[in-house]
């Protein structure tokens, strides 16, 4: 019984973040927030962002989801703190390219988010990996309606 192929997807870092999500809390005075929903697996998350002068000062999330979507949300909140909105958008673009298999994982651009490269071999899981990011886009665009991956 080999779990090697699975380890490509379920990397230690991902499992760690899914079991102990970082920034897993609400923010009362968030400047932006949004809700994301993946109807396929029932994942729901609420994202809270504090933006000051175009810089993301704080970010957190709550919700229930699969390991991939929870880890993705957790790592996103870590990675984006201190980044500008423009940097966040650029990072999402690189991240999206990698998890959909359109571009190769570029460690320089992605940093520790490169652990999600394994998702490319699981097309149905791309939505899990990108749910938090789509929700962030909606939060920053101040969309009222919940984002849905479907």
């Amino acid at each position: 019984m080999s779990t090697d192929a699975l380890r490509e997807l379920y990397q230690e870092v991902i499992l760690d973040h899914s079991k102990k999500p970082r920034n897993f809390r609400e923010i009362d005075n968030a400047s932006h927030d949004a809700k994301g929903h993946n109807p396929l697996c029932g994942d729901r998350l609420s994202l809270y962002v504090v933006v000051e002068d175009g810089v993301i000062r704080d970010m957190s999330f709550k919700g229930a989801g699969c390991a991939i979507s929870t880890a993705s949300a957790s790592m996103m909140t870590e990675v984006l703190k201190g980044k500008t909105q423009a940097e966040a958008e650029a990072l999402f673009e690189s991240f999206h390219g990698v998890v959909t298999g359109k571009t190769d994982a570029d460690e320089d651009a992605l940093g520790k988010l490169a652990v999600f490269a394994g998702v490319r071999d699981y097309p149905v899981r791309v939505k899990c990996a990108t749910l938090a990011w789509h929700t962030l886009n909606a939060a920053l665009a101040e969309k009222e309606e919940a984002v849905s991956t479907e």
Partner: protein
């Protein structure tokens, strides 16, 4: 055509004489014999849709190759052959469901269309302002949404029978909710999310005692247990061929002739009319009045072949085999550490829905797929059931006549891998 009784008798007597030869049955399903991710496929997603026996695949391709034309309209030989093939499929479905007449069998795309037909046509004529439609918490979305749409259109309201922690209907609540305003009761025979077999006979008796007709969503029952609409005395019963080892896009609605006669047409078009002028259109007789347009002709032929296939084995033998397999599977899964079965009704068929401590069903599904094991994960088009049990989703292994104890053992091994990945 053989009388419905005959096939049943053959099936029942052979049940005691012949062992259920699952290896032979497996041999008849080409789709089962392939490797997925380098491992032999274990197909446990039968409640979503089932694999097809060669006999059904051949019937469809032979029909297209030799007998295909449109039906009910040509004077030429091919049209005659196609019409005969289509109508003989209807007789097979009639016998399979135990209907009194072929006029009571309307071919539809599947259970979803069957329910929509009744909600639209029967509903339009019979459910009005202040009336009620009674369904249950465990219905598939297709036995919820058409009724919601009807209620919204006609100013009626939807009432929902609750379920207990084992996933069984609260019959005392059913009795309370069934009132003089209830114009129709719509309930699943077998729940796709929980496996519960509902006491539909009692439900039908109670509803009839006050003159309320009952629709049974038989999508999950038809592949597993014998159906006898006359014995049940239900008013509507609807099934999908694709869950019964037949073609997709094909199904049947049984409706009592006395009700069907009075129902307004569902869709308008060719074949459902006798004559059309701009002043007046006369509708066709039953069941054609409810089959507008060129139907799924090859689908019907395949459906007929599917029923021949099932009769060849015997529904009672299938049910007995699966009951034993479900027991085995339930016991095996109960022993998996951290696993909780969702849906433990005392009468169940074919379905084992479960959650694993701390591991999301979607992750379970992905890891099992790597092991060649196909299960469904998600809400199974039954979100109210998920809400009732406080879960966002479950993993579901659903069994069919071709599954074996080895399939269950592979699932248990696969779940050990899931736990290992997450350890």
């Amino acid at each position: 055509m053989t009388a419905p009784g005959n096939t049943e008798v053959v099936a029942r007597s052979s049940a005691s004489n012949r062992a259920f030869d699952v290896d032979r049955i497996r041999g008849e399903f080409p789709g089962l014999h392939q490797d997925i991710k380098g491992k032999p496929l274990v197909y446990l997603d039968n409640a979503a849709s089932s694999q097809k026996p060669q006999q059904v695949i051949d019937a469809i391709s032979d029909f297209y190759a030799h007998d295909y034309s449109n039906i009910h309209r040509g004077v030429h030989e091919l049209s005659e052959r196609a019409t005969k093939a289509y109508e003989s499929a209807r007789l097979k479905v009639q016998a399979f469901m135990g209907a009194a007449s072929e006029r009571e069998i309307v071919f539809v795309r599947g259970t979803t269309e069957g329910i929509n037909l009744v909600a639209d046509s029967f509903g339009r004529a019979n459910v009005g302002e202040g009336d009620e439609v009674l369904i249950t918490t465990m219905e598939h979305h297709s036995n919820i949404v058409p009724w919601q749409m009807l209620c919204e259109r006609n100013g009626a309201s939807l009432k929902v029978v609750p379920i207990n922690d084992r996933g069984e209907l609260e019959m005392e609540e059913f009795k309370k909710l069934l009132g003089s305003k209830t114009k129709i009761v719509a309930v699943g025979h077998v729940s796709n999310a929980l496996g519960t077999i509902n006491p539909i006979r009692t439900i039908i008796e109670l509803a009839h005692a006050q003159g309320t007709p009952v629709l049974i969503d038989g999508a999950q029952a038809a592949p597993h247990v014998a159906i006898d609409v006359r014995e049940l005395d239900c008013d509507f019963y609807t099934i999908s061929a694709h869950k019964m080892f037949g073609p997709s896009g094909m199904g049947a609605l049984y409706a009592k002739e006395s009700l069907l006669e009075k129902m307004p047409p569902y869709q308008g078009g060719g074949d459902m009319i006798l004559s059309v002028s701009f002043e007046k259109t006369t509708y066709n007789r039953l069941p054609f009045r409810f089959e507008a347009g060129t139907p799924n002709i090859a689908g019907a032929v395949g459906f007929g072949a599917t029923i021949d296939y099932l009769n060849g084995i015997g529904m009672d033998r299938i049910a007995a085999y699966e009951e034993e397999l479900l027991d085995y599977g339930t016991n095996a899964l109960r022993d998996v550490p951290g696993l909780r079965i969702v849906g433990e009704a005392s009468h169940k068929a074919s379905v084992i829905s479960f959650v694993l401590d701390g591991i999301h069903p979607h992750d379970i599904g992905t890891i099992l797929d790597q092991e060649g094991i196909a299960v469904r994960t998600g809400h199974h088009c039954a979100q109210p059931v998920m809400d009732r049990f406080g879960v966002a989703a479950t993993a579901r292994a659903s069994l069919a006549l071709y599954n074996t104890r080895e399939d269950i053992d592979r699932l248990v091994e696969g779940l050990a891998t899931v736990r290992e990945v997450f350890s």
